[in-house]
C-alpha cells in the first residue's frame, strides 16, 4: 500500500487506494485559538464549541481546526491562523508545527504496514523573492519527522512535478504543470517524464485575499469565504464590492504569473527544444475561479511566452491532482 499527500498552505489532502477507487481525505489547513480567562469561561466556551472540530491544549486554550476555525474567525471579525505560510511550515506562528503535526497525524493516520511508502509535495525555490524564512529543507524535515511518528517512509516530491505525473500521461509526460495553490504558484517543465525546469512564485490565492481585504477593509477570512462562494468571473466587474476587488486582483495575479513564467523560461539554458506545441495543465484551488484558464491563456499569449502552446487545460480534478500525482509517485517507488 502507498499514500500521496498534498501538504498545501490552504488544504491538506491525503490520497490512497481502496480496491478499485482512490480515496481522498481533505482538511482545511487553518486554526483559531480561544484562551479562556476563568474556569467558568472555559466551561461556557467548551459548551459553545459542541459539534465543532477542536482540541484542548495543556494550557487550557481551545484550538479550533479547519473550516470551523475560519467560521469562528469570521464570526469574531478576525482572521484564522495558518500552520503553513507560502508553501512551507510557518515561522511566523508559534503554534504552527504542533498544529500541523496534529492535523497531519489525524488526516494521514497510522501506516497500514511497517514503513508504508508515502510521498508528499514540497514547493520549489521562488523566483520573485529571497526570503530567509523560506526554507524548503527544514519544512521537508518537519513533515518527515511528523510522518515517521505515524510509521511512514515519507519522501518529498516537487509539487508541480507531481501534477505533471498526474495529468500528462497522454502527452508522454511532456508539457508544463502549473499548480496554483493558496500560498504559491509552482511550475514544472517536463520532457518525457524528466523535470527540466522547476520554480515557483510567491503570489497566489492568499495575495488576492490580502489585497482585496486591504481594498475593502474586510478581514482576510471574510474575503476568503466570499471568494470561495463563487459568483464572480475573473476580470469582470461585480456588484458585490468584495467580489469586485477579488475579480480585479485575480486578473492582476494571472497577468503577473504569465509574465513571470515567460521571463523565467525565456532564454533558459535547460529549456528543451520541444518539437511540437506543448500542453499546459493547471491545477490547485486558486485555479478554480470562473474564467481563470481562459484569462491565463490570454495573458500567456500577450506576454510573448517563449514556447508554442497547444492548449491550456484545467486538470480533471484541480483540487486533488497534486495529491494524486504524489500517490502515483509513491506507487512506483
Amino acid at each position: 500500500m502507498s499514500k500521496g499527500l498534498d501538504v498545501g498552505t490552504s488544504f491538506i489532502i491525503m490520497s490512497k487506494y481502496n480496491k478499485d477507487n482512490i480515496v481522498f481525505k481533505d482538511f482545511r489547513d487553518a486554526f483559531y485559538v480561544i484562551k479562556p480567562n476563568t474556569p467558568i469561561a472555559t466551561k461556557m466556551i467548551e459548551k459553545g464549541l459542541a459539534g465543532k472540530t477542536f482540541v484542548k491544549d495543556s494550557d487550557g486554550s481551545f484550538i479550533i481546526l479547519g473550516k470551523d476555525a475560519i467560521e469562528k474567525a469570521v464570526e469574531r471579525n478576525e482572521t484564522a491562523r495558518r500552520p503553513m505560510y507560502r508553501g512551507v511550515v510557518s515561522v511566523k506562528e508559534k503554534e504552527a508545527k504542533r498544529v500541523l503535526a496534529y492535523i497531519l497525524k489525524e488526516v494521514v493516520g497510522k501506516a497500514s504496514e511497517p514503513d508504508e511508502k508515502l510521498v508528499f509535495c514540497v514547493p520549489a525555490q521562488p523566483v520573485d523573492q529571497e526570503d530567509d524564512d523560506f526554507d524548503v529543507g527544514y519544512h521537508e524535515d518537519v513533515v518527515k519527522t511528523i510522518l515517521a511518528e505515524t510509521g511512514h517512509d515519507a519522501r518529498a516530491i516537487n509539487e508541480a512535478e507531481a501534477l505533471c505525473y498526474s495529468e500528462l500521461e497522454d502527452t508522454d509526460y511532456t508539457g508544463i504543470g502549473i499548480s496554483c495553490g493558496a500560498g504559491m504558484t509552482n511550475v514544472c517543465v517536463m520532457l518525457n517524464g524528466e523535470p527540466t525546469v522547476v520554480f515557483s512564485t510567491t503570489k497566489s490565492g492568499d495575495w488576492v485575499d490580502r489585497m482585496s481585504a486591504v481594498a475593502t477593509g474586510e478581514p482576510d477570512s471574510v474575503v476568503q469565504v466570499e471568494k470561495e462562494g463563487g459568483g464572480f468571473k475573473v476580470g469582470e466587474p461585480n456588484e458585490n464590492p468584495v467580489l469586485n476587488a477579488v475579480s480585479s486582483y485575480y486578473e492582476r495575479l494571472i497577468e503577473y504569473t504569465a509574465r513571470q513564467l515567460s521571463a523565467a523560461l525565456d532564454g533558459h539554458k535547460a529549456l528543451p527544444k520541444f518539437k511540437d506545441p506543448i500542453r499546459i495543465v493547471v491545477a490547485g484551488g486558486t485555479s478554480q475561479a470562473d474564467g481563470y484558464i481562459e484569462k491565463l491563456n490570454e495573458k500567456l499569449n500577450e506576454s510573448n511566452f517563449p514556447l508554442p502552446i497547444q492548449e491550456v487545460k484545467h486538470a480533471s480534478d484541480p483540487l486533488h491532482a497534486v495529491s494524486k500525482g504524489c500517490l502515483i509517485a509513491a506507487s512506483i517507488l
Partner: protein, 100 residues
Amino acid sequence: MLDQLIVCILLLFVFISGIVFDRYILNNQTKEYEKPESFFSKQRSSEKVYKNNIEIDDKKIVMGVETVNMESKHDGLGKTTESKDNTQSAINKLKSMKGK
C-alpha cells in the same frame, strides 16, 4: 604560398573569435541554472552519493512537533471522497519510462 598562409591565419582567427564569442558573450546572456533532478532519479542516487569532504550539518533541527498534550474533542478529521482509480496505466507507463 603567402596567399595560403594568409587564408590559414584568417581561418584560425575566425575560429578563435567564435570560441571567444560563445564563451564570453553568449554565456552572459543565458541564465545560470542547475538542472533539477527527477523525483525518481533522486531516490536511485540518494544511497550512492559519497562525499570526500567533511562538513558540519548546520541545518535547522526539528523541534516542537509533540502533540501528546493536545486533547482531541472531535471525531475523525477531514472530508472523504472517492473516485474511480484511473492511475494504473499512468503508473505502468512511468515505470517503463523510468526503467522500473
